[in-house]
Symmetry: C2
Subunit: 245 residues, 2 copies
């Protein structure tokens, strides 16, 4: 028996999120199905980040146990022959038998992309959230600065969350313009349910000039989801980096 870690990239457009569900296509479901067919065992992966429906990833992580003889590092090549083209395993390797991706300390980066232009661009529609309302990235960055550090992010967490604690650490939170796109890039030790999308929705309110940057301190103190901005749509969100510390 060995434990194998996969680094997985996917276009979340066609999936009901990472986590397996009955009667819905999910990333975990596809990995389980194709790994089981490849290795002729009943494989159940453990995912690191259970991304929502429509969210994308460049490098999510999943582990599974197998008795198969195939060397861990070869599994990615064989699995990619079977997976649909909107899921690709970038790397596979053997890890310690007790390695559990959700119980390890980690450092994750998400990007939230906003297409801020007069008209939506069809070729960007699946990977950005479109708004024609002008956004002031200086104000967005000033607001973002209030959220960096260790904080209780209860205001930035959907009520459905079952997290034990809502304290997390954001190491970095940058707002940058790349041509007609605005990129919100956030790195932290973990994120609550919908946290990055609520941060994006809240920073957009600051960018529109509706809320002054200082208002972020009040939102954090309120510890109330209703005080923050809307949850920005899933399509703009991509998990771009996942490191174990």
């Amino acid at each position: 028996m060995k434990r194998v870690m996969l680094t997985v990239a996917y276009d979340g457009t066609a999936y009901s999120g990472f986590q397996v569900q009955e009667n819905a296509r999910t990333i975990e479901g596809e990995l389980n199905k194709h790994l089981s067919e490849l290795l002729l065992e009943d494989i159940k992966v453990i995912g690191a980040s259970r991304t929502d429906a429509g969210v994308h990833a460049l490098c999510n992580v999943a582990v599974f146990d197998t008795n198969a003889r195939m060397p861990g590092e070869k599994i990615s090549y064989a699995l990619n022959q079977r997976l649909p083209e909107d899921i690709r395993v970038r790397k596979s390797k053997e890890v310690e038998a007790d390695f559990h991706p959700r119980r390890c300390k980690s450092r994750k980066t998400y990007e939230y992309r906003i297409l801020n232009a007069e008209f939506p661009l069809p070729t960007k529609r699946l990977y950005t959230h479109f708004t024609y309302v002008p956004l002031d990235i200086g104000k967005m960055q000033a607001a973002a600065d209030y959220l960096i550090g260790e904080h209780d992010y209860k205001s930035f967490c959907s009520i459905a969350s079952q997290a034990e604690t809502t304290v997390r650490t954001i190491y970095d939170l940058q707002v940058e313009r790349e041509k007609e796109e605005i990129v919100i890039r956030v790195t932290g030790n973990g994120f609550l349910y919908n946290m990055v999308r609520i941060i994006a929705g809240t920073l957009m309110e600051a960018g529109k000039g509706r809320w002054e940057p200082e208002y972020m301190a009040i939102i954090l103190r309120a510890k109330d989801r209703a005080s923050a901005g809307p949850t920005a749509p899933a399509c703009g969100l991509t998990l771009t980096s996942y490191e174990f510390l």
Copy 2:
């Protein structure tokens, strides 16, 4: 009666090209259908660039004649309410009654994007052509330089073409790296059938080191499609700019 010009962006993934065909979804077909329903007339647009199946555009051009009272510049807003989300009209305006986009002198730019990485990225698969073979962009640019200017591009034209002359002018042809993508950006006064895709396929052969850059001169002189490289896949190609001179 007035003539209206549309600037149209589209994701070509789901379409059998620009030009109308029976029993196939096309950009022209969608524009005709939704314009006719909007303006309550039988509208037939004239397209500027009849892009192939799977090719994308940021700014293709189409014109049509209408007796409708709706001001030309308002049509884009009304039409976008009806069009599928993978087609967007960025601008509409009234033009001279004799303006014909294919009979005007023009300057067009296409981009061909290659994802040159170890593994394909699912979120790039619709808008880039993937290859894991390392490409030397210095050699690609040296090869590209032979193609700039006024030349007979018969070797870079699919045999199915019915063009009267195969002489065209390429004003600029640049090969650049943008992170893991290689972008071939070509500007010219017109392009033959599949010409940009054959240029891309040929420059890739130079980038792989199979053909020395100087071989481009031999290909041009041969005036034979068989002498050039393969036609690169449609998904990597986007019409990015269209100017009338």
